[in-house]
């Protein structure tokens, strides 16, 4: 009898345990479902807020575009200014294999060395991708100085393509080895171009400037190269901006050397020769390199403000049809924006808008340009909130 009671009690106890278990499992499921629902609501509300913000931003951006500025997605990040139609035609022709069109295009600018440099670089960029036409050109005219120039400049570009833009720690030994081999080859090609060139032509030496960065020319060697350039074309803007890279801290110089070089060149130039861009480049590079520099304070310092004022005077004296003024305007827009001279900044933005493949914008995603431009535009436009 007692045995039965005990058995009954055990059964009851077991049944209780099982029922309790089932109850808890159900309760847990209910709670889980509630949690999921709550999470869903949070996500929905977050996305609503995000959507509202995005809409607000889009409205603001559209308002700026409505004032005649280019929308972010339409900005051209490859060029500093619109590509002239004859250049586009020449590049299309060589891509189709017509090297003679390329040769004629380079020859057409004669002794405008700045222009010659630009045209050579444009062709080299095409050749770095596909150089069948260049090989044909070289085969047909082995002593053509322009072909030798394009060949050398292509060598530099390809070397950099192999190297990639990652930091040294993310660059493989294979990349470094080939990079250095190609640069050494490009150096010889640059020397070959120098031998073949018109003795007055500084461009083969400007190509060697690009080689000098990667090979790390010692200062003495670089100064010799620089004198080869300046005795042929003392005020060449691109040669000067190339040299600014060499003297910058990230290559073979320092902030001090870069600024000293920039000031010396700017001081030796006449208004309108646009070399006032060099100190601005020195400041951009310094601010980029020093993480503890804040642009809103650094770019407002008296010496920077003075450099900007000098650049504005230089710009005013320059030939308005000179395309090189655009390069200075790109820099000025950036500095004027930080100096809260928004009306002057907007004037520069009006000139440069649409094509932002230029210093300083090419260091960043285009949103940075759009932010600066839109900010300045909103500040100076009545009825808009900055």
């Amino acid at each position: 009898m007692i045995g039965l009671y005990v058995l009954g009690a055990m059964l009851l106890f077991g049944a209780f345990k099982i029922l309790r278990g089932i109850y808890y499992i159900r309760k847990a499921k209910r709670l889980e479902a509630e949690v999921a629902a709550l999470e869903g609501r949070t996500v929905a509300s977050d996305s609503r807020t995000a959507a509202a913000k995005a809409e607000q931003k889009a409205r603001e951006a559209a308002a700026v575009v409505a004032l005649g500025f280019v929308a972010e997605e339409d900005l051209d990040t490859d060029n500093a200014l619109p590509v002239p139609p004859e250049r586009k035609a020449a590049l299309d022709a060589v891509r189709a294999g017509d090297w003679e069109a390329g040769a004629a295009y380079v020859e057409a600018c004669g002794t405008d060395w700045e222009e010659r440099w630009q045209r050579v670089r444009a062709l080299a960029e095409v050749a770095a991708e596909d150089d069948a036409w260049l090989l044909a050109w070289r085969a047909a005219r082995p002593a053509d100085p322009s072909a030798a120039l394009v060949n050398a400049d292509t060598g530099v570009l390809v070397a950099w393509n192999v190297r990639g833009s990652a930091r040294a720690s993310h660059t493989t030994q294979e990349q470094f080895r080939i990079f250095h081999e190609l640069l050494a080859k490009a150096q010889e090609q640059a020397w070959e171009a120098q031998r073949l060139a018109d003795p007055a032509d500084p461009v083969p030496y400007m190509v060697e400037q690009s080689v000098s960065l990667g090979l790390g020319y010692p200062h003495e060697q670089y100064r010799r190269l620089w004198s080869q350039i300046t005795k042929r074309d003392p005020k060449n803007l691109s040669a000067h901006t190339n040299a600014m890279q060499y003297w910058s801290q990230k290559w073979r110089g320092s902030h001090e050397r870069a600024l000293a070089f920039a000031r010396e060149c700017a001081a030796g130039a006449e208004p309108g020769e646009l070399l006032s861009a060099l100190p601005l480049i020195a400041y951009v590079e310094q601010e980029l390199h020093e993480s503890d520099l804040e642009p809103e304070t650094f770019f407002k310092e008296p010496e920077v403000a003075a450099a900007v004022d000098a650049a504005l005077v230089d710009l005013a004296a320059a030939d308005p049809d000179d395309w090189r003024t655009v390069r200075l305007r790109h820099l000025l827009a950036w500095f004027l924006f930080w100096q809260d001279r928004d009306a002057e900044a907007v004037e520069q933005f009006r000139h440069i808008d649409g094509h932002i493949g230029a210093m300083p914008w090419y260091y960043w995603p285009k949103s940075r340009y759009v932010h600066a431009r839109d900010w300045a535009v909103r500040v100076v436009t009545p009825g808009m909130e900055p």
């Binding site: 770095a128 150089d131 090989l135 390809v158 393509n161 493989t172 294979e174």
Partner: protein, 532 residues
Amino acid sequence: MGASLRAVRALVLLAGFYLLGVILLAALVGIDFAVVTKLHGPVAFKIIIVSVVLAVPIVRGLFMLRTPKGEPPAGVTVTEAQEPVLWQTVREVAQQVGTRAPDEIVLIDEVNAAVAEDARLLGLRPGTRRLYLGLPLMTGLDEMQLRAVLAHEMGHYANFDTRLTPLIARGRAQLIRTIGHFHERADNKVAKERARQEKRDEKRLAKGKDAKGVDTAGQGATYRAMAKIYMAYGNFYMRATHTAGRRQELAADLASVRVAGRDSAASALRELNALDSAHGFYMSSYATLGVGAGLLPRPGEVFGGLRKLLDARAEELDGLRRDLSTEPVSPYDSHPPLAERVARIEALPDDGRAGQSARPALELLTDAGAALAALEQAVLTPEALGLRRMDWEDLVHESMTRYVGQGAQEIRETFAAEGAGPGLPALLDAVDADPAVRWRIADRFPKSEEAAAATGRTAREFARPVVRRALNQLVTVELTGRGQARWQLSWSDSAALHYPSEGFEEQLRLALDAVVADVPDTEPLRKLVLAP
């Protein structure tokens, strides 16, 4: 601390280990007793089961009295009749240090000298003493340096160190093993639990539910706790014996200074540092270079070639002699860092024995060549002994030719797959017919991520060195096959291809460049390599 005091301490420390076991067992029994008298039913039963399970490794630790016998190093035992001078030297050193000479000398294949003694009665009574002496060690030392090393080892005998060492070692081994048992059991338990939970997850997944994941934290915690008790004692044990160990090493160093002179003692230690790496490098890059091709150097040279390497790379080795490690070998090694030992010796006053002339240590042997050859028989595997023997020069040429040929086989197949093969002439014809075949060939070789992502001329620049390397390898095979080039052994550098004439290498460089140039020219290479 005298030798007898050290013996007492070693005994006490070992006794401490047994005492620890007994105390733990007693504690478990006490708990069980309390449980049995105060509690009844399944709970009490479970507690008793747990205590029994915990007791097992303790008991095992207690009764494993014998230290595991390490495999003695393989070698050649030499009698006094066979090597009278060596024995004489060893006896002299033993006498100078003030201890009994070893009963046996075994020549081994390491950069090492060691003494061992089968001590009896917990190390209180002497047993057979054995001196293990490495021929590679003797290869690198002169007689006085060898005497210094021997005196160091004998110095341990003189201080009864070797007789006590088994005692200390036994205590240490016991502790480590007992801790190991607990960890092993804990790990087993974790593994079982993991397996169980993984099975559960699998079932859940099979039923279409989310896996809960595996969590085994807390499993085997009791075992780990027990191991911790032993580890704490182990640390105490190590600390207590370690400083004494280091003192003994320094005392042994002083013995070697007395016997061999300050400068020989110091230079012997410096030499050891260099010899160790040199021997390792020699064995992997020279002695066994031909093994993949089924070749070994001549009898006696497998270990004997080291001398040639030491002579040829004297400058490189000087660096190793100069820069000694300041790090101890391991936390359980009683040797102080080498730099410290050498510094202590070199700080001693000049004993006027600098610059004593001494013959190479190997000359202590009746016939060093025969001893080196006999050692091979004792330590090499039967497979190794079955390999073909060759002079060094031929060995290097034959094995390099074989290896390059093996690599070239794959290259030929790759070229042939693009219709450019299998031989060099067919490849050059194919390049002449269609220069782009080179880049297609390069595509068939493994590529880095960057090379794979490259396009246009950049891709070509990645491909160019690949094709050039492969081509160079085929050229090497062609030239060695024609007997025009030969792999040259160098004791101071890696093996290099020796070309038929002065300036050939430069011509070959230009010819290879011409084949992989944008506009290829195969003529120079044909003239250079394929011309009859």
